[in-house]
Symmetry: C3
Subunit: 199 residues, 3 copies
Amino acid sequence: MWIISKIYPYSLSQRLGAICDVLYTMWIRNSIGHLGDHSYIHYPCSLPAGRRQISIGDHTVIQSHTILACWEKYREQTFTPSITIGDHCDIGEYNHLTACNQIKIGNGLLTGRYVYIGDNAHGGLSWEEAAIPPEDRPLCSKGEIVIGNNVWIGDKATILGGVTIGDNVIVGANSVVIHDVPSHCVVAGIPAKVVKSLS
Amino acid sequence: MWIISKIYPYSLSQRLGAICDVLYTMWIRNSIGHLGDHSYIHYPCSLPAGRRQISIGDHTVIQSHTILACWEKYREQTFTPSITIGDHCDIGEYNHLTACNQIKIGNGLLTGRYVYIGDNAHGGLSWEEAAIPPEDRPLCSKGEIVIGNNVWIGDKATILGGVTIGDNVIVGANSVVIHDVPSHCVVAGIPAKVVKSLS
Amino acid sequence: MWIISKIYPYSLSQRLGAICDVLYTMWIRNSIGHLGDHSYIHYPCSLPAGRRQISIGDHTVIQSHTILACWEKYREQTFTPSITIGDHCDIGEYNHLTACNQIKIGNGLLTGRYVYIGDNAHGGLSWEEAAIPPEDRPLCSKGEIVIGNNVWIGDKATILGGVTIGDNVIVGANSVVIHDVPSHCVVAGIPAKVVKSLS
């Protein structure tokens, strides 16, 4: 293995991985509604549903093992579910973006690993719905998710439906955002609350 | 790559992935104590120990990258550790179920990604045990984990030993459940507390 | 598939995986600053930057899908960023250790899955920095991270910059550690606080 590591060192495997990501993006871009210039989807990602309703801006990266899904078949609403991601975003590894309503992300979003952004829930909170398996409950949504510009979402944070996050916001690691977040602040905790205003 | 994406589009890769999961289930089912009808284990999962003590009901799916482990070698108790999963469950991707005692899951469980359900801990809280490396402390358990029917566990939640969760419960994302949860409610936070009773 | 599972059972695939990890370690060890005796890096891990500044002791395991990174290019400080891991540590799967300052880990650390230990942040909290995309903000660090001996960090915990954790500490699952932690205690929550002193 010593000789192999001289012929094919770790640094070379990294460069081949980068080429693989470029080829993967070229292969997958026809499946997506819109993928802007200089934007990349790293190998492998998962696009289980509603690929045509996904729109990604320019200079944006979707890191590997991320799921982007628009669940059309579940919608009862009259409009089409969609995910719109702006320019210069970096969606981290192992993220999960799932819409049965709308997810609208501005420019310059950075997310950590294992972030969940989802506008849908398995059923409401009635006794009747709770008594059937969650998978059999109809998907519902408290409302769309809107994320402003220059937002930074920490590792393992969770953003739920009906939430609007302003511009220049930092969401702390492991937080769960269930209420609106104003611009220019840091939020953290379960549920996430403003812990600092940027001055 | 444009031509390849016409001959071998993303949607076809998805269908081949589904076939791969069926073959993987057929291959792995002999290793498991019991795997019910119409139940699937998606490629790849990890079954590092105690595979014969794992029992999975009908119409249940174990999503990819999940670990199921019964640690027999660590037990000091007289009974055999086991994991029992009911019917119509959907165990999400990247979950980790680990037992040195018993994990008993009812019907209709749905879990998000990165959920941990484990009844064991590395040692107790004595000064003597704390002064040795955690890996060298004997595995111990506060008690079995029992999860009722129609429970929905959100992304990145953690369920620890000695906990009983009732029927029709929703466990919020990123929560840590260390106390019993009654039926018909929503729990959230670290530690998880009842935030809403279903009416 | 039934016949294949007899010829090539799951238990054999596990043993081949272990051999793969040994070969992977032999292949990758030349890229790392120091890798001690009887220490292994499981396939696959990611070492995107600063591999020569990573030092790993004896009898230590880095589980698969973990990222170790020293970001030299971002440094404004006069010293070199580094990650030092002691002996008999077990860094779990899907962890992320990232330094633009120093991460110093003692002996006997055990971490769960999805743990983040990172001393760096994208920019400070000024209005000017918040108004540019997080990725374009200069990396900065509140200070080094020091972790003592025999520490156990639970699943999905997050350890941020400027934090010193004492000896024989247990960090609860899903916690976010932003303040120093004394020796001989259990911390939990967001932010993590002492919930029990070991006696």
